[in-house]
Structures are given as structure tokens and as C-alpha cells.
Symmetry: C2
Subunit: 287 residues, 2 copies
Amino acid sequence: MNRILIVGTGLIGASVGLALRAAGYEGEIFGTGPREETLKIAQEMKAIDSWAIGTDADELAKKSDVILLAGPVLTIQDWMQRLAPILGEHQLVTDVGSTKLLIAEQAKQLFNQPGRARFLPGHPMAGKESGGAAQAEATLFNNAMWLFCPITQEGSLEQDFRNWVSKLGTRTMDLDPAHHDELVAWLSHLPQMLATALSASLEERFGKDEKTRAELNAIGGRALREMTRLGASPYSMWRDIAITNAEPIADTLHALEQRIAHLRENLKTPILREEFEQANELRKPRP
Amino acid sequence: MNRILIVGTGLIGASVGLALRAAGYEGEIFGTGPREETLKIAQEMKAIDSWAIGTDADELAKKSDVILLAGPVLTIQDWMQRLAPILGEHQLVTDVGSTKLLIAEQAKQLFNQPGRARFLPGHPMAGKESGGAAQAEATLFNNAMWLFCPITQEGSLEQDFRNWVSKLGTRTMDLDPAHHDELVAWLSHLPQMLATALSASLEERFGKDEKTRAELNAIGGRALREMTRLGASPYSMWRDIAITNAEPIADTLHALEQRIAHLRENLKTPILREEFEQANELRKPRP
């Protein structure tokens, strides 16, 4: 991996550039993306060495060993369509998309075949409450989990890229794409949707005037702050996740609706004890 | 207030004793409760000066100016029944129960009438994940909100007790008992029940074997930890709250079920944006 192109130099993409440099990567780092402004910030931060935009980006892609697609899932899918015909067998495309099944399915159609580049679906589980190149950090992936969903036998470029990912301080794990999407539905998307639902409900109840909002602020404590922090997450970060992982997310939401209804129907019965005890088990240390 | 009896010297009761002393209270502090062991711990910590148990506790109650009922709501209600006939007009009973409507209703029956003691319903919003006298701290109420739900014109003993509560570093607010219960259903009980439902659902999904539990631990991040921390809350702390505030809690849970179903049905539609934007409003700074 002597040349890498980072497509989308927002928080994750620019952090990959910074982290590669911090880990001793001496090859070239190119950047592209939809907005010049973002690319300039990334270049000033030294997350990328140079950048191009529009059709000039195709030339950068053609001369890179690895192309890292960063950004929302639907944008990644657009880039896959655009790049597949112009890349060759000696190149690797990988991505950082939050959902993996649709990307893996599309990759099987477009890549990993004679004359086409290779594709390794990936998902670094790192982020911040607000995105953007200016928030990027070389340490963003320290101790973070970088998931991979390999869809084909891997070659030396994949090994090279994985080595660099490890040097960023990550832990890694390989998962089947559908299993990945079901796991992140439970462990990431469900908590987000719950916090959104709770925050929106509280806003409806307490947002109408200053008096009720003052009661919320005066009485709500740590528990409420924690359970609603994710309510501040922007739709722009979640739209593509909801669209591309709708079925697994819907399954977890439906399971939770039933669980909440069960609690509601048993507030005065000993079944409530069983629910609390099952919940208590989640964080208990194992022997 | 020259003599105060703290009934129930667990986390809250013992902390009140310690906090009063730290605030310069020089009167006597008596203790009583169901278990000798707890009272001994509270005495060793100097949260109480002396204690009695069983019928001897009645004598302590009779010679106290203020009787503070600490503990679960149903236990507080038992003590109200027991103490009402043996106390007199010159005495004030107050409590720290988490729900207020049933206690206020019972207080109207048993107190605040000729020959009977006065009653001031109260609710300090302070606590820790685990209870017990050994966890008590003089600083537990620093910056905490201590709610009151007065049910009658207040006299000098109420003023005296309120002054001491302010000296503990609290903020205070007066609320109608039914309004109190509806507010805490939204701001405290609903977040708890949600965390319990989420944790129990995750335990059902991931608790079955070591492999799936390892995936949970490897992939779950800060968002998941925050949204499930309250899942560790013990049933023993929540049983009486659920029983005595069942209807307001059920209303909030039902509203949330509908909200989650609405999200679930709109994962792929622009209505999801409206839900995120309404949620975003909750924590936005106001002009």
C-alpha cells in the first residue's frame, strides 16, 4: 500500500489519514469528496497530501493501491458504482460504512471478478457526537473495534491494509455481513432509536412552554441526561443507516415495544421482579 | 427542631443525619428501622446519636420534634399508620418517599387535624446505584433537588425543617402531589423502565452463550453502556415506586410504545427526520 485515496474526508476519513501518518505510514495519501472546503481542511490538518474533485478524482483513484470509501452508506454505494468500471485487479477498495449487507451484496456484483478491483467491507466503530474534518483526530481509533466482513479469499493488499488498521490501535473482528447488521441493530441502532424516541416524547411533553421546560431542567438528573444524550444525534448521520438496515432495526424495535408493553402490564405484579432480574444479568461479571 | 428521629437509616436516612451534623445541627438525632445491623452502622458513622427498635422506637418518636420517614414508599406508609395515633400536634412528620400522591392522600387522613401531628411530604432527588447505610455521605444532597408537596398551611416546624434542608446544599421546589408523580414518571421512572426493558431484551438476545456475549462486549460501545447502566438497578428499589405510581408510569410507557412504533414504521420515510429533529430540540440552548 504505497498510495491510498480517502473518499470523503469528514471525521472518519480525515482521522484515518492522521492516524496512518501517526502510525508511520510514509506513502501518499490522496483525498476526494463532494466539497472543496472539507478537502482543504483535511489537507491543512495533514490528513491528506493532495486532493482532487469531480472527474479529476478518477485519476487519483486509478493510481492508488487502496481506495477507502468513507461517508454515509448510500454515498459509499454511489462511489462503488462510479469506481468499479475504472479500477483494476491490482487495486483494493474498502469502506467504513455503518451497515454491511447491502454494500457486501453490491460488492459481489461489482468487484472481486476478472478485470475488477477487490473489495473488503469494513466498519470502524468510532465516532463523535458531531462530525466533520475539523473534529478529526489521529487517536480516534485507539482501542476502537474495526469490524471486517470479508466476502472473498483475501490477498496481499488486504493483508497490508489490515496490518495498517491494527497499527492504528484498533481491535478487529471478522463477521458475516448479515450477522454484522443484526448485531449493530441491537447494540448501536436500537439504543439510538430509543434515545431519539425518548427525547422526542419528552420534547413533546415539556417543550411547550418555559414553565414546564424549567421543571424538566430542575428535576431531571443524571439518569435522564444519559438516556437522552444520543437524542442530539443528527438525522444526517442516521438516515442511511435506517434505510439500509431497516429490517433488522425494525425487528429490534418491535421486540422492545413488546417488552415495554409487558413491563407496563406488570407494574403491580411479581413479573416486574423477573424483568429487573433479567436486566441485572446483563452487566454481571461472569465466573 | 431540637430532636429528630430518622426512621430507616439506609443511604438516604443516614446521609440526612451526616449532612445535618455537617451543616451545624446540634440537636439530638435518633434512629430506628427494621434492622439492628443498619442502625449500628449508622451510629458508628455518627449519622445518628442513639437508636431503638420495635416498640421502644415509639418512645423516641414521642419525644422528637421532627420524624423523618426514609425508605421505600410502602414502608413509609406503614410507619404513617403506626405513628399517627401516638404523636401530637406539636410534632412534624416528613418523608423522603419517591412517589407522593398516595402518601399525601394518606397524610390528609391521618395527620394535620386536631390532636394529630403535622405532615409535610418530601422527596430528595438523590441516590446512588447501590443503597445501604455504609454508602451514606454528608455531601449526598449538595446541589440535589429536594421536592416538597405541602398539603396544608405550614407552621414554624415546617419552616425550621425547610431551613435545615436548604443548609444541606439542596435546591427546593414545591409541587402538587399528583403533578409531582406525573413529572417523576416522565423524568425518572420512564428512563429506568426503558433501561430495564432494553437490558432485559439484550440479555435475552446475548446472554445465551459465551460466544454471543463476547460479541456484545466486543462491539457495544459508550452508547450501549449509557443506555443500559440503569439496567443494574435492583427491583427492591423500584417495586414500591412501580406499585404506587403505576398509572402515570403506564401512561408514559404507552406513549413511548407508540412513539417507537411510529419510528419503526418510518425508518425509510422522511418522517424519521421529523422525529430526529424533535429529539434534537430537547437539549438545544434556549434564547
